[in-house]
Amino acid sequence: MISQAFECPSCGAPIEKRTPGARSLVCSYCGQTSHLNASSLEAAGEKQMLIDYGSVLKIGDTGTFDGREFFVLGKLRIDYEDGFWDEWYINYVDNGEPAWIQEDDGAFTIFSRVGEPEQHARFENYQVGGYAPVSNFPDPMFVTSKARAKVNGGEGELPFKIIPGDPADFVEGIMGGKVVSIELLPDDSAIFVGSPFELSALGY
C-alpha cells in the first residue's frame, strides 16, 4: 500500500492517505474533516471527534472475511431518530476492492457498492412494505425501513466527500435473500447489497 502524507489544515497534525480513491480524510487529533482537492486538503465543516463506544474493528487493523484479507481504512457514523450506526470502510488486500462493514448494536453486515439509484429516485417515493426497483437488478427490493438521517462524522479516510451534519437519508430493503441499502448522500448516493454475518466470520 502506497501512502501519501498530508498535514491537517486545522491543527497541522500529520494525516495519511492510503488509497488512491480517498476523497475525505479526518484528522485523528482534532477531528477536522478535510476534502482532497487535486493534491491539497481543504477543511470541511465543524470538527467532530466520534465517541468511542468500543468495537472489535479499528482503523489500521487487518482482518479476513471469507478467506480474503482486508484492512480497515475509515469509519462513517450516521445518526437517525432511533440512534446511530457505524460504517467501516475496508479494502481487500488482494485487489484493492472496497467494501463496507456496517456495525449496528453489535450486528454486522458486509456491503458492496453495486451502483447508484435512478436519477428520479426520491426518499419520499419509497414506501415501507412495498416494492421498489433497484438499478441494474431485474427484481425489485422489498422495502423494510427508511429514515431521515445525517452524517455524525467520520474517521480515517473515506471514498467520498462528507461534511458532519449533512443529510444521509437511507432506505433499506431485502432482495433475493440479501440486504439492500440505498444511501442518499448529497455528494454520492449509492446502492449497496450485503449479507449479515457473525463476528466470528471476520477470522481474527
Binding site: 465517541i51 463506544y53 468500543g54 468495537s55 472489535v56 474493528l57 479499528k58 489500521g60 487493523d61 487487518t62 482482518g63 484492512f71 480497515v72 431518530e81 432511533d82 440512534g83 448494536d105 453489535g106 450486528a107 414506501q127 415501507v128 412494505g129 422489498f142 423494510t144 425501513s145 431485502i174 433475493g176 435473500g177 440479501k178 440486504v179 449479507s195 449479515p196 463476528l199 471476520l202 481474527y204
Partner: protein, 425 residues
C-alpha cells in the same frame, strides 16, 4: 498494522443512582440512551446530566419475571458469555389459529411474555423470549421472499415455499420494561406481527407503524425453543442447577411409579372383569309364583362377612312375546331391606322383510356392599300381564371386584405419567 483483536471482557460498567429511589443502577452498554430502574420503575434519560426521569412505569413487582432470571445475570450460551441487560414485557392481543367443533378458524387471545436482551462480550445482541410455558431464542433473519400478512393468511418468507398457515397475528404492546435501551422505548409502544410455524421453528414478521397508515419499519425473526434446563445451566447458579436435577430426579421417580401403577391397575382391571367371584347361594324360583302380592321369600343365605357381593338374576323359559318385571329385595335377618335388584325379562320374536328375528332380555345384576356377616333373605315380586312360564335363577357371589375402579385408577396413573414425563429430559 495490527490485527483485529476480540474484546475479552464485557463492557465496563457505568454506575449511577436512580433519581426515583436512589438505588444503584449499572449501565453496561455505553450506547445506552435510557435505563428503567428495576426497583421503582423510573425511566431515566442517560443523555441528560441529571439523568432526569422521563416516565414512571409503575410497580416492578407487578411485572416480576416468570422464573429465576434477573437483570444483570451472566451466562454462557452457544459458547459465549452473555449478560441480561434489559427485559421488556409485552402483552399480545392476537388471533390464534385452531380447530373447534371440527372447523378451522381464528380465536381472540391475550398473552404476556418477556423479551430479555442479552449482550455478549462483543456487544452483540441476542433475544431470549420467556413466557409461562418456556423459553425461545430469537434472531433476526433476512428472508428469501419477504412478505407481510396477506388475505389468505398463509406465509413463507424464509424460503418462499411451501406456504404455511399463519398461526398468530395481532399486536404486541409494551406494558413494562427494565434495564437499559439504546432506542426510544416507552410504555404503550406497539408492533404488529404475524407468525407461522415451519419444522418446529416460529417465523415472525414484525412491523412498527409510523401512524395508522404508514409502516415505519419491518423486521423478520426466527425463534427456536430452548429447554429450561439449558437456561438454568447457562444462567443458574449451582444451587439452581442442583434443584433442577433434584426436581428432574423426582419427576422421573413419579413417572416410573405411575407407569408401574398403571400396569398394575391394568392387570387388576382385567382380572376383575374376568373374575366372577365365588358362588355362595343359588336359588330357582318359578316366574308364575312371583305375581303373588306378598312375593316369594327365598331361603336363608349365609353371608360370611363384610365385603363386596354380586347379586344376579337370570330368567329362562319365558313364553314367547311376553315380558315380566321382577323386583328382588335383599333383607337382613330382621327383614330390613338393605338393597334391591330389579330387571325386566322378555322374549320376543317375529318376521320382517329381512327374515325372522328374536329379541330377549334375561339377565340383571348388581354389586353391593354389606358391613356385617349374618343370614340374609331375598324377597322377589313380579309383575306380568299374563301368567308366566319359566323361572328365575338368583345367584349370590362373594369375592367380586369393582373393575371400573381399576380402570379409573389406570387413567389417573396414565395422566400422572404424562404430566411428569414432560418435566425431565
Amino acid at each position: 498494522m495490527s490485527s483485529i483483536q476480540t474484546q475479552t471482557k464485557l463492557a465496563s460498567v457505568n454506575q449511577l443512582n436512580c433519581q426515583g429511589c436512589g438505588n444503584a443502577l449499572s449501565v453496561l452498554n455505553p450506547r445506552a440512551k435510557y435505563i428503567a430502574c428495576q426497583y421503582c420503575g423510573s425511566v431515566l434519560d442517560l443523555n441528560s446530566e441529571e439523568h432526569q426521569i422521563l416516565e414512571t412505569l409503575g410497580k416492578p413487582e407487578r411485572h416480576a419475571p416468570f422464573s429465576f432470571l434477573e437483570l444483570g445475570m451472566t451466562g454462557v450460551l452457544g459458547g459465549k458469555t452473555h449478560q441480561l441487560i434489559s427485559r421488556t414485557r409485552w402483552r399480545m392481543r392476537y388471533k390464534e389459529f385452531g380447530y373447534e367443533d371440527g372447523s378451522a378458524g381464528y380465536s381472540n387471545e391475550v398473552w404476556v411474555y418477556d423479551e430479555w436482551l442479552m449482550m455478549d462480550e462483543n456487544k452483540t445482541y441476542k433475544y431470549l423470549i420467556e413466557d409461562k410455558t418456556g423459553y425461545w431464542l430469537s434472531e433476526e433473519i433476512v428472508p428469501e421472499v419477504p412478505m407481510l400478512l396477506n388475505s389468505d393468511y398463509r406465509m413463507q418468507f424464509y424460503q418462499g415455499e411451501p406456504m404455511r398457515q399463519v398461526q398468530e397475528f395481532g399486536t404486541a404492546e409494551v406494558i413494562f420494561f427494565e434495564g437499559e435501551s439504546n432506542y426510544d422505548i416507552k410504555k404503550g409502544d406497539s408492533v404488529r406481527f404475524s407468525m407461522y410455524r415451519d419444522k418446529g421453528l416460529d417465523y415472525s414478521a414484525e412491523w412498527r407503524m409510523k401512524d395508522e397508515e404508514e409502516i415505519k419499519e419491518i423486521e423478520f425473526f426466527r425463534e427456536r425453543p430452548i429447554s429450561k434446563k439449558q437456561v438454568i445451566e447457562a444462567f443458574g447458579n449451582n444451587e439452581q442447577v442442583t434443584e433442577l436435577q433434584e426436581n428432574e430426579g423426582f419427576a422421573k421417580f413419579v413417572y416410573n411409579m405411575a407407569l408401574f401403577g398403571a400396569l398394575a391397575m391394568l392387570i387388576m382391571g382385567i382380572y376383575a372383569i374376568a373374575n366372577n367371584g365365588k358362588l355362595i347361594s343359588s336359588q330357582s324360583i318359578p316366574l308364575s309364583s312371583l305375581t303373588q302380592v306378598e312375593g316369594v321369600m327365598s331361603g336363608a343365605i349365609d353371608i360370611p362377612g363384610p365385603g363386596l357381593y354380586k347379586l344376579e338374576m337370570r330368567a329362562s323359559g319365558i313364553a314367547q312375546n311376553s315380558e315380566m318385571y321382577v323386583l328382588a329385595y335383599v333383607m337382613d335377618e330382621q327383614k330390613n331391606v338393605v338393597n334391591t335388584l330389579d330387571g325386566t325379562f322378555s322374549y320376543y320374536s317375529g318376521y320382517d322383510s329381512e327374515g325372522s328375528w328374536t329379541e330377549s332380555s334375561t339377565r340383571s345384576k348388581k354389586r353391593f356392599k354389606t358391613n356385617k356377616a349374618g343370614k340374609y333373605y331375598l324377597q322377589l315380586h313380579g309383575n306380568s300381564e299374563r301368567t308366566q312360564t319359566g323361572q328365575v335363577d338368583v345367584f349370590l357371589r362373594s369375592g367380586v371386584m369393582m373393575g371400573r375402579y381399576y380402570l379409573m385408577a389406570l387413567i389417573l396413573f396414565v395422566v400422572i405419567a404424562i404430566i411428569f414425563r414432560t418435566r425431565f429430559k
